[in-house]
Symmetry: C2
Subunit: 217 residues, 2 copies
Amino acid sequence: MVMNRKCIIRLSRYKNALKRLKALGFVKVFSGNLADAAGVTSSQVRKDFSLFGITGNRRGGYRVDELVVKISQILGKNELQKVVIVGVGHIGNALLRYKGFEAGGIKIVAAFDIDPSKYTKAAEVPVLPLEEFRRFIQEHQIKIGILAVPDVAAHHVSEIMISAGIKGILNFAPIQLRAADEVIIGNINLEVELENLIYFVNAQDKADPAMVLADDE
Amino acid sequence: MVMNRKCIIRLSRYKNALKRLKALGFVKVFSGNLADAAGVTSSQVRKDFSLFGITGNRRGGYRVDELVVKISQILGKNELQKVVIVGVGHIGNALLRYKGFEAGGIKIVAAFDIDPSKYTKAAEVPVLPLEEFRRFIQEHQIKIGILAVPDVAAHHVSEIMISAGIKGILNFAPIQLRAADEVIIGNINLEVELENLIYFVNAQDKADPAMVLADDE
DNA sequence: TTTTTTTTGACATTTATTTCACAACAAATG
DNA sequence: CATTTGTTGTGAAATAAATGTCAAAAAAAA
């Protein structure tokens, strides 16, 4: 099992690139094509593939269809992934309405909040009271949750999520969530991202090669 | 000039940790304290600091106040950083209303869209027609923009931004934006983030050490 | 003042990641 | 069928990043 985050991110990128290439009519691709599309070297593409046991044909490259299936398998995307959101403030609400997930096999199935004025139990994606969280998670066997509550509540709410059985949290609160055992935490900190950008833009004034910040990274 | 993104991210983390420690009444800290707060080793903290020429006192550790000032300097945060948003959909709107930036010296000064029904020219943070983008950017000397338009528009709009003088783009559209010369691009791709989480949660079922996904990278 | 204690700062070591280089191979060509 | 061509797959080399170690420094204690 490959446990290198950068590598997994690249895999996601390859998959996205493949979808675009497929839309353009590509039936097979070479490592170099994917490298260009994903902004890496062709060696890296082949190395990544070999790490996951993905093989192509010498001289023939890779079949786009097969590649998409294999990568999706590795990323666990061949079955629909159900995800919940906790915290229906501005960010939570935006994510709730974000249309980009469905195409990628990710479905937001419910959101939770403590503010009764936000409850919409009958909606297609219902907003439910946080008290119902545990029951819902266990009933629907949900493993992934997005945390979008204010920073002061984040740690407390994350504990509720974990105790209910959530195994992976994507945290938007601007605090560094401490990882409990067996739970994976991904942090998206907007201020940190902007600070990064500011640093490198300022640095640009002194040095100058163009660059794309990796995720990562 | 340090060009290692992970290192800069850690610097942001140290700064956040320092703010919390300061709120708790800390006057000085040791590398070990910061390491704990940021989830790294003390060697790493000292290494990072030495990279940026930040020094402390042997036995005395580091003064919290000085450290915050120095790190803020490095991150270019001692003056207010003005940022604009392009695209006032769900995500753009959420960012527009996000309160977390101001404390960190980042100010959203305007947003832009092509939909007249969204214009609010008189608001504290106005939403303006995209046609006014160039004039506004040049008048206010803005370097950083957040791109939150639908994917099909992202590339086109990024070119408008760059030609108007924007030097750093934080891209929320789910495409890999190609970096034009002298422009820094940071990508936040929600689907990629979730895919990562899904992968590692699935992996967890087989192997088991607890983990926090680093940014970075 | 001297000794002890504690922590930094620098460097050495280890570990991880990326790139290089090329043999092995499959398709295309003659 | 042999030869040429172009691409993969991989082990070795290079590069980058993190960690460990300890002398030197500074504060505190004796």
